[in-house]
């Protein structure tokens, strides 16, 4: 295996492949940075152009766009509170507050390094552990997926903030939003109010852009005369060199990267879950957990290394088993098939150069982020904030409109985005935290569907939820997390009651 890895290296270092890595990463950062343009769309558009070339060139582009977009998504998340991709949602939690405090430069730099580290760890996992991890993938059935979702939902306890009932109400609201549409198991319409629009449910990205990106734009519009951003930050060099970052975040990075890889090998779970779980873990572990959500760079480090560590790991089930872990993996499989390579267990032995070459490319593009990310992001995108806010408001709104429109090509989506924006604005002002809403939207349906699938398979025998070894392991982990959280809360009790300030 390691021999094949080394043999593939010269193929990857050819001129054409290197160019494709470079171009791919650059395109990826740009695509990720524009809300609504997602890597899936970009790869679907680029792949046909490469059919005439060597497959390794096509895969180089894919690797670049994939890794680049994961970092690119962090740029609007940090600068404008718009999640460029759904996976960047956890990056907004601390990224945007940092920008408003005048630490946007540091936030971008942290995001860039974190993405690169997450991507590198993930690529290394893909290179060395792929066949082993693939077995884990298969061991996860609906019962285990259910527990993973519950694990994520329970971490709401970490995200709710000080007001438990408000946090829970937010989360439940999220679950309800996630339930809208045709139920995949019974085929029944739920909460569609007989409108055709709601039959398909709400598109995740539209909900996220609405809830997160619209409220700050409205606030910006309201306070034109005061300065909304502390804009000097981009002229000054971020304090502390890269070594400082490394010293500060290596713990977070290693923990989040492991979480990202673990989520990555589960098809269908996705980078947004990886980022949220990493963020929760970082917050739970931190001694200064109350500064999370108010511009703590550790939050960005956790979210970005988590979602990027999902990337290469998500390729493990697709390359080893032929089961696409996400839409990008599905496109890669499609591309391999067009080049006459049959995905599945035989791929490693039949075309090692392509498979191992692709792994190298995932590694190299993660490293390229450090070079291109800093250059493109801080030099180009950060200039956006220098615009007078009377112009920043309408341009941001146009950007969101085009982003939401390109998802489905449907104008109704724009009104829906605005409605979610108003809801988000209202919830904000009434002191309801938004993060649990997102978690509810994402994980509520995942928990529900998998619970019902488990019951269908086991014919309503709920003991299967506890008798399978992996399920039991997750349940145990869940208990540990809950107990430690309870212990932490109890210990903090004696402190004087904090002021119920705005969340």
């Amino acid at each position: 295996m390691f021999e094949s890895l080394l043999n593939a290296l010269p193929v990857v270092l050819q001129f054409g492949s290197l160019i494709s890595l470079f171009v791919g990463t650059l395109i990826g950062i740009l695509i990720g940075a524009l809300p609504g343009l997602n890597p899936v769309m970009a790869i679907a558009l680029m792949l046909p152009l490469t059919y005439g070339f060597d497959p390794i060139i096509a895969l180089g582009l894919v690797a670049g766009i994939y890794n680049g977009s994961m970092y690119g998504g962090a740029i609007p998340a940090i600068l404008l509170n718009i999640p460029g991709t759904p996976a960047a949602i956890a990056t907004t939690f601390d990224g945007y507050p940092m920008t408003r405090k005048g630490e946007g430069g540091l936030a971008l730099k942290t995001a860039c390094w974190s993405s690169a580290i997450g991507g590198i760890v993930s690529a290394l996992a893909l290179m060395t552990l792929a066949p082993m991890l693939a077995k884990v993938t298969l061991a996860f059935g609906p019962a285990e997926y259910f527990w993973v979702a519950v694990f994520g939902l329970v971490s709401i306890a970490v995200l709710v903030g000080k007001d438990v009932s408000k946090g829970m109400l937010s989360a439940l609201l999220g679950v309800i939003i996630g339930l809208v549409g045709v139920d995949a198991i019974s085929g029944e319409e739920r909460f569609t109010f007989d409108t055709l629009y709601l039959v398909g449910g709400f598109e995740l990205l539209i909900v996220l852009i609405g809830l997160y990106a619209v409220p700050p734009v409205l606030e910006m519009a309201e306070r034109r005369n005061e300065s909304y951003f502390n804009a000097d930050s981009f002229r000054a060099k971020p304090s502390g060199g890269s070594l400082g970052l490394l010293r500060r975040h290596w713990r977070t990075w290693s923990r989040s990267s492991l979480i990202g890889v673990a989520v990555g090998i589960l098809p269908g779970a996705g980078g947004n879950l990886a980022a949220l779980l990493s963020y929760n873990e970082a917050k739970r572990k931190a001694t200064d957990s109350e500064t999370f959500g108010n511009g703590n760079p550790v939050g960005i480090a956790a979210a970005e290394s988590g979602n990027s560590a999902d990337n290469a790991a998500a390729m493990i089930p697709s390359l080893t088993l032929g089961i696409p872990g996400n839409l990008i993996a599905a496109l890669v499989l499609g591309a391999l098939m067009i080049h006459g390579l049959q995905p599945g267990p035989q791929l490693f032995t039949r075309s090692p150069d392509v498979v191992f070459g692709f792994m190298w490319q995932m590694l190299l593009t993660a490293m390229l982020l450090l070079l291109l990310g800093g250059m493109v992001a801080t030099r180009l995108f950060a200039q956006v904030l220098r615009m007078p806010s009377a112009l920043l408001v309408p341009t941001t709104l146009v950007l969101m409109a085009v982003g939401v429109y390109t998802v489905n090509g449907n104008v109704t989506d724009l009104y829906v985005m605005l409605a979610f924006g108003l809801a988000g604005y209202l919830l904000n002002r009434l002191g309801f935290p938004l993060a649990p809403v997102v978690l509810g939207v994402l994980l509520g349906p995942m928990a529900e569907q998998n619970f019902r699938l488990t019951m269908l398979i086991a014919q309503n025998d709920w003991t299967v939820l506890f008798t399978r070894p992996i399920s039991l392991g997750i349940v145990a982990l869940l208990a540990v997390v809950l107990l430690s959280q309870a212990w932490k809360t109890l210990r903090q009790r004696p402190r004087p009651a904090a002021h119920p300030g705005r969340q």
Binding site: A44, P48, V199
Partner: protein, 320 residues
Amino acid sequence: MKTTLLLTTVTVSALAFTQAMASDYPNRPIEVIVPAPAGGGTDNVARMLNQYLEAELGQPVAVLNVAGGGGAIGVNQFSRARPDGYTLLSTWNSPITTVPHMQRVQYSYETLTPITSTSQSAYTLCVAPDFPAESGEEFLAELQANPGKYTYGNDGVGGTMRLAAERIFEAYDITARPIPFGGAGETLQNFLGGHVDIYGGSITPVLPYVEEGQAKCLLVTSADDNEALPQASGLAALGHPELETVLWRMMLGPEGMEEARAEAVADAVARAVEQPEFQAFLAAQGETLNLVRGEALHERLKQETQAIGGTLENLGLKQQ
């Protein structure tokens, strides 16, 4: 020499010009709605076809993926488009012939302009190597003997695969427990992990595992046997060719699209599928060419819609 060249160029361009004047279609980019997510089988085939279609039509053809609702979301949106021939639909059969029985939709096979069908492929039912059956007949007998014992993964309520299986099970008086998954990939994952007993889905993803001996496919849902799966029986071999349910793909226009434009697209598709690269691609996907256009396509849609309506009614899945 030079003059002849010049003359030919002039004539050719003049010809092209008059032709363009005659139809004047298409003269700007065309949008093709694919009611499935990017990266799926429908999307892959549509994008591949578009590449060659662009050359034939002389205009860029952009794909817009509108996924959800078993394809109904995309087709609903499409049915509201202007019938000027600049918005086309590239779909598989289920959103047109099955989903309208189960959900409220804004279209039916009657309100869409038939252009042409493109390709088709069968589904397969596979089991683990230790399953007590070695042929299609034994497989069905085993299921018959153990009602409600086996679970089969499928593509969800109203999915074509589930319907294909239920039609066969109904004829053989079989009760198997359907487990709805998001698609063939998810079904394969759960089948290989041993979480469901039977794989139900398209042929391509499971093929490597058949070669490795980790799965044996015993049934295909087409009338004919499938070369790639020698152990599997086609429905004709079992004496039930009328139960054939396959996945097939087509291009449609919105209601009221000009016939001349529909013809122009159908002609372009017919020329595009002649490309050897496209045919090789189809073969790799396990699909075969199948061109039915215009009225004949309308008739095919009508028949399938009615047959499926009957099956769904028997299953108690039909919505009033």
